[in-house]
């Protein structure tokens, strides 16, 4: 029993790490540009499929490095030519635009790579369990968690220690004032969107190795990612990280005791948070 619980907690942490990676990117974009990016899951799928296509040529490691970067570049292009056009309008416009974009991306991946699930190879030595007792602790899973931690750490470094990060934080608080101070807000929003999409692409590559690859991979993570933001608190990256891990573990634990409720439990948690602490666990009062 203990082992079963541990198995599901470990599983939950890993799924939660995906949610967190996705949610942090979503949250960055939402905070700075007021865009609820429904296409975020689509970019995750693009990252995953790009890694799948590239890895025969550049290997697993090459794919891991290149796919998220290429995905981020696609994100920069999408922001510049599509999403930037609806800035400053009713949020409904960006919602409709990204919602449509999500469908376009999903059908494009189906068109290019087929509707069937395709296998994504991870180096064999990474797949072997680290211990006989805890068979579920494969090297790959540990590696994923480490990589997510690295990505989040890197993001926190960028946000707190670099000029770009300082300007993004300032822009999140008051975009107009940043602009009055002479910062090029158009470039700022573009780069910020690129960072968010990079994280989605990275989540995609990691997910491909863990969950396998099908066109709906993006759609299945997007709603939990929103839930992670709401639970953690919009505008707080630490909160979003916490929210993602929390719902991952919660649904993992639920899988032990009430398997049919694994999906429902995160929405119940969201409802509870909204009732008790509407600004989210670490969110600022009065936002969202």
């Amino acid at each position: 029993m203990t082992q079963l619980i541990l198995f599901n907690v470990a599983n939950g942490l890993i799924i939660g790490a995906f949610y967190a990676l996705m949610a942090i990117g979503l949250s960055l974009i939402m905070s700075l540009s007021d865009v609820i990016n429904f296409a975020h899951g689509g970019f995750l799928a693009i990252g995953a499929y790009l890694a799948y296509t590239l890895s025969p040529y550049v290997g697993f490691w090459g794919g891991l490095i290149l796919a998220p970067i290429l995905t981020a570049i696609l994100g920069l292009i999408a922001e510049k030519f599509l999403i930037s056009r609806v800035y400053g309008r009713d949020p409904l416009y960006s919602l409709l635009l990204t919602f449509g974009l999500a469908f376009i991306i999903e059908d494009s991946t189906r068109f290019i790579w087929g509707a069937q699930s395709v296998p994504y190879d991870v180096p064999g030595w990474l797949m072997s369990p680290l211990s006989a007792d805890y068979f579920f602790l494969t090297g790959y899973r540990m590696f994923m968690v480490a990589l997510v931690a690295l990505a989040v750490g890197g993001l926190f470094y960028v946000m707190n220690r670099t000029r770009l990060g300082l300007r993004i934080r300032a822009g999140t608080l008051d975009l107009e004032t940043v602009s009055v101070l002479g910062v090029n807000v158009r470039v700022l929003r573009n780069l910020n969107f690129g960072i968010g999409i990079y994280l989605a692409g990275l989540a995609g590559v990691l997910a491909a190795g863990q969950l396998g690859l099908q066109p709906t991979i993006g759609a299945s993570v997007i709603m939990p990612s929103f839930v992670a933001i709401i639970i953690g608190g919009l505008g707080s990256l630490t909160g979003t990280l916490l929210g993602g891990l929390l719902i991952g573990v919660a649904s993992g634990l639920t899988a032990v005791f009430l398997p049919s409720a694994t999906e429902a439990v995160i929405y119940v948690m969201m409802a509870l948070v909204l009732l008790i602490r509407p600004q989210g666990l670490l969110g600022e009062e009065g936002r969202f």
């Binding site: 934080r169 300032a170 608080l173 008051d174 004032t177 101070l181 002479g182 910062v183 090029n184």
Partner: protein, 249 residues
């Protein structure tokens, strides 16, 4: 020649005439106050100078350059910095981070992650110098949102100065402050004006501040120019007294 030349500017909002043919010539190094009863169109007048609002008619010329068609952020680059009636700082950044943003912009640093070593030192020096001048050094590590009203205003003024403006526009710098804070902010503005010979235009409610700071005063009433002159001339002006006391001129 005037440094800032405002030539009979008007602003209509539909049938409402908010500013009606106001002219103002500010000399280089002058501190000019714009006063007037509530609803006199002072803030609208300000927004016409900064370009936040488009002109219905008239002209704004800064140092010989016509501002027509130049948007507000570009005017900032041309040396026109302003503060707002509601303090515009980043509450969840520290005071030092608040000042850092415009200092880096003024140093020509954009979003590339590289920063040449000589610039790094000069940027940091400039930040500390501005914090010092604004009396903010000992609270530089605190979140700007936690500061007193007066310190927040000082932070905001220092952020505007960080852009090395040639013209500083201050919209009610002491709005909503108690006596001590009003006094401190007025002293800060006076010191900036005296030490840097900055050209300053300010809107102000508090007459003690106005008479203490301004070289000349422009009075607006109901969107129209009512009077202009030195503080002594304005005090003696019967039309101004009438406008403020609400009686007929």
């Amino acid at each position: 020649m005037s440094f800032l030349k405002v030539e009979s500017v008007s602003k209509h909002f539909g049938s409402l005439v908010a500013v009606d043919g106001v002219s103002m010539n500010v000399q280089k190094g002058e501190c000019r106050a714009v006063i007037g009863p509530n609803g006199a169109g002072k803030t609208t007048f300000f927004n016409l100078i900064t370009g936040m609002l488009g002109l219905t008619s008239g002209r704004v010329v800064l140092d010989g350059q016509d501002m027509a068609g130049i948007d507000p952020s570009h005017r900032v680059k041309l040396g026109m910095a302003r503060t707002f009636q509601i303090t515009e700082i980043f509450p969840e950044l520290t005071v030092r981070e608040n000042v850092r943003i415009p200092v880096e912009v003024a140093a020509g640093l954009h979003l590339s992650p590289r920063m040449p070593a000589h610039l790094k030192a000069s940027v940091n020096d400039r930040i500390e110098q501005l914090l010092e001048e604004g009396g903010l050094t000992r609270i530089a590590h605190r979140y700007a949102g936690e500061l007193s009203h007066g310190d927040q205003r000082a932070c905001e003024i220092m952020m505007a100065l960080a852009l090395n403006p040639r013209l500083l526009l201050l919209d009610e710098p002491t709005a909503g402050m108690g006596d001590d804070e009003t006094h401190a902010v007025a002293r800060l503005i006076k010191r900036i004006h005296r030490e840097s010979h900055m050209t300053i235009v300010l809107i102000e409610h508090d007459m003690r501040v106005v008479f203490n700071l301004a070289d000349r005063i422009t009075v607006l009433a109901e969107g129209k120019p009512l009077a202009e002159g030195t503080p002594a001339e304005i005090t003696a002006n019967e039309r101004v007294q009438a406008a403020y006391l609400g009686g007929a001129a």
